[in-house]
Point group: C2
Chain length 395, copies 2
Amino acid sequence: MDIQNLRFASRFDGISGSAIREIFKLLAVPGMISFAGGNPAASALPDGTCAELAKELLLDKGKTLLQYGATEGYAPLRESLVPYLKDRFSFDCAQDEILPVTGSTQAMDLLCKALIDPGDKVVVENPTFLGNMQAIRLYQAQLLPVDSDGDGIRVDELEEVFKKEHPKMLYIIPTFQNPTGRTLSLERRKKIAALASQYGVVIAEDDPYRDLRYAGQELPSIKSFDTEGWVAFMGSFSKVISPGLRVGFLAADKALLRKCTIGKQSSDVHTANLNQAIVDAYLRRGLLAPHVKEICLSYAQQMNTMLGLLDKCGGVARYTTPQGGLFIFAELNEGMDAVKLLSKCVDSGVAYVPGTYFYPNGGHENTLRLNFSMCSVDQIRQGMEKLNRVFSENA
Amino acid sequence: MDIQNLRFASRFDGISGSAIREIFKLLAVPGMISFAGGNPAASALPDGTCAELAKELLLDKGKTLLQYGATEGYAPLRESLVPYLKDRFSFDCAQDEILPVTGSTQAMDLLCKALIDPGDKVVVENPTFLGNMQAIRLYQAQLLPVDSDGDGIRVDELEEVFKKEHPKMLYIIPTFQNPTGRTLSLERRKKIAALASQYGVVIAEDDPYRDLRYAGQELPSIKSFDTEGWVAFMGSFSKVISPGLRVGFLAADKALLRKCTIGKQSSDVHTANLNQAIVDAYLRRGLLAPHVKEICLSYAQQMNTMLGLLDKCGGVARYTTPQGGLFIFAELNEGMDAVKLLSKCVDSGVAYVPGTYFYPNGGHENTLRLNFSMCSVDQIRQGMEKLNRVFSENA
């Protein structure tokens, strides 16, 4: 029988792969100034420190690190995460309420595996992170988008949806959101924790950008206001140490975490031990805070340069002014189409991601996401000049 | 609302976590002689070489290795895998027919993700590897066990099941099978490749033990007889380099591999780059073959010691005599119960895994799986003496 006759699982109906990852492949042109990615700057990746740590850890504990590990995670890392979570995210949790995972993408996958049957409803911000939208869709959930404003997701609308639609889960990025850069207000954080308990909805709180703050005051996590265990917290070391190491974590109610752990047995048995041990060394030896401080100095300059130039950029109607993170979200004049303009921009040597991809139901063709972490201040100036030229000509 | 009210996804109905992994937790008693695991010997884990490689690779290519990588895998590793697959598994395939994964467990997960809808049928050997049985069950497939004999799975019975039941997939470990240690004959390998095409069934060929051969002649993979792309081949470096690094690969038809790649985007984005680069260095620099040769010398002695003592062990009716791998499968006298006897054995300081767990429908309580890789020849002698005592008393 011809392999063309192979029928794939129905979860792939309508799934075509991440549009963003396809865009990235088009950017391999030398000299391209890319505002499209969401990667850390090369200068932010601590290759020297990781080289020394990897060697030291393998010489010291190689027989343990190269052997099978527990699905539950590398014990020293779980130990280190307890005070880290308290310090950075303001919540208490025990070691057995923490599961190290293979990047926080796996945390999302495991939460869906544990909770979602086909047809279940999952609320997401409108717009939201493309990658996790695809993760949720692969579990055949129905996405319910709720609009956000300058203070993050609109909690009045959210309560209406919780009441009427009985969703299983809310997926939310409360700090320096992807793609908008917006931060959820303190009041709304408290309200969402309360709504979760009131309506019995799991909150999947995704907070990978929090440490990249360049202005303003830190806010406690939604989970810090969670009294009954409805908030599952996903963290990542991709933005502050290295995405290539693939280490994140999930902190959640024990019964929920147990299902995620069983799910992880069949996903990848456990997260690579060496990678967990490198992250553990960063936490245990106090290497993370000074490294983050250094990164932030440079990212702040890059963001402020881009914000300053956006103000004078032709065709741009408005844009967000984040206090941190990696992204600015811009809106072009009514009638301009960021998808169509992308190819003109790429032709002139600059790229971004059209905002429409971040909206579960599409539309919003006049929006775009701009990343500033991967370009020098000089490149940002050049790239913004190119954008200004193309947008002005088409405004 | 109390979190106790949380309803989990129906894929977890009847799933309670790997029984084996629970047994392992009971073995942390000092002095316990464990024939229960399936881990490489500590002496087989190349900590010194990995320490040097990790440092060198991170100093040389750290900015690439610590950055996000492609879901499709680390390009140099895909390049190295082409001649490796040809040499070791006797099949040709292109780089874009290979996907590096986070341990071959992930290959199984992605194949199920790509192919299995709830209620689909998956044929497995009876008995088979517990871990992947759970992976398949989490996709709510119906398991169809087909008996094996000394030459591996019975192909007459298999054809009947293909004809009558129209299964989606066959999961098979053709070489030094887990738990039996048996190897599928050449004739049956050819036949299974032919049946796959004839009936349109995907063969998930899992071959992690092949390089651990201590006697007899190597056989080509089932995939080497595959003319139309129905065989998906899963490989692992866990048994020959390190399980803790979590690197394996999937080689499959392009359209199927594309679905697996999209599935992987949402599972963990990509396999950690450093870990892929270490495996690549092993292949590229010719480090693997001499390392495997060294491991096999020791494992052969361990296996032969155990086989010799099994011959004189009370209560043992018969056992397999593998030509390699990590496991021997034994059958006790009719009426003896390896589950009940396990606690007596553990009390006297020796452990194994009851065979019943490897049968999809249970039963076969008088069987057990014995691993010899993690014990020295001396420990094997001591452990077999303990088994002999308990089994003789209860025969």
